[in-house]
Symmetry: C2
Subunit: 206 residues, 2 copies
DNA sequence: CTTCAATATTGACCGCAGTCATAATTAGAC
DNA sequence: GTCTAATTATGACTGCGGTCAATATTGAAG
């Protein structure tokens, strides 16, 4: 078992993980996250309870699997946009707006997903979040290079600020029983606010 | 029992609540939040376990008590600053910077406090958070009136963006084993970034 | 095929957050 | 004082997340 192709073990492992994720998401959607027990998930995935915790440290950690795909997709798209030499900020913004479609589909699920994301956000060992950070910094640096963002601002700070504003806008939108405002418009508004700047300009300044 | 002064009942209630909060915080600090059980808290506060949940819906809800004082203090100080007719943004910033001192003192505790805050943030029935929102909007409107912020920006959005950036900067600072950067400097940097604006100015713009 | 170390699975078990039916206090009415 | 309704306290109990020691499976080496 020294080949490049994955061993049977690896395949089975992947497959089991996939089964668990599928079962979990299905139940989460139907019954809600809190009302779903790990045992129910395991029953549906046909594994023992202990097995679940071999794959995920917490019940909610299954969301991490979604985040992975998420980030991979973002890397893909943003990379493509930046590769062209054109002004890119609006295109970048559009990608994030489009991602928001997912949140609009199942608000309950999205809430828990974002909470899990927040939880992992600052864990230095979380691979997915670190990739997200890398990506953000990369994008900001590129935008700076194109002259679309102030060059004197620290890329890490800027990208974190933008990501925080993005996520917290969604969180605010998710919590109340009914959506309080059109999500995508508000995201556009707030991110633009940060990028365009808040301080008064030219003649408006006193 | 129709007087203005609080009844014995009210007093006892307040006192019990206070006892529980004190016991909880003391144990949280010593043993850590997760390692402290509700029963331990109750033993120390000399009440039964059920009583705890008469006062707080969750173990972590005791932090809400701190948030109350917090917000009251902020209302006080920011009100005073805005009452003077002078330019106020830097003073406002200073208040938040000063508040950060608390977080620097007990990082473990602060982490849980902020998580609890985040949890309540979007609950429309949470009195404390609603007051915080009010305060934020009020401050932004005042700053707009003084010409220190763009007047065309929605006060609610702006204040939420600033609050989010503030809190998430602290969260990032709190999570790793050791502080990754000087907290206060970073808060100043990021909030200024938002307020001063990110887009390139004048000759730097292409 | 047998052996063996590494890896994966299992489910009985534990600890604790949170509930709830019952009991005790309170404060006012009479 | 007694009675009563409303409020507050209580702790036995439940359900579930998460652990872990025991068991089974795997794959390679001999």
């Amino acid at each position: 078992m020294t080949e490049l192709e994955v061993s049977r073990r690896e395949r089975k492992k992947e497959e089991t993980k996939e089964r668990i994720v599928h079962a979990a998401l299905q139940l989460f959607r139907k019954r809600g996250v809190d009302a779903t027990t790990v045992e129910e998930i395991c029953e549906k995935a046909d594994v023992a309870k202990g097995t679940f915790f071999n794959y995920f440290p917490r019940k909610e950690a299954v969301f991490g699997h979604l985040s992975e795909q998420w980030v991979a997709d973002a890397e893909q798209r943003l990379g493509a946009i930046l590769a062209k030499g054109l002004p890119a900020w609006h295109k970048v913004l559009d990608v994030f707006i489009e991602f928001a479609t997912f949140y609009e589909e199942d608000r309950e699920l999205s809430k828990h997903m974002l909470m899990e994301w927040t939880r992992c956000q600052h864990d230095p060992t979380d691979e997915t979040c670190r990739r997200w950070d890398e990506l953000g910094e990369h994008v900001v640096r590129q935008l700076q290079a194109k002259g679309e963002l102030r060059r004197d601002a620290d890329p890490a700070s800027v990208s974190q600020v933008l990501a925080d504003v993005y996520h917290s806008t969604i969180m605010i939108w998710l919590e109340p029983p009914e959506p309080p405002f059109p999500l995508k418009a508000e995201i556009r508004k707030r991110l633009s606010l940060v990028v365009e700047g808040l301080a008064p300009r030219g003649k408006e300044a006193k």
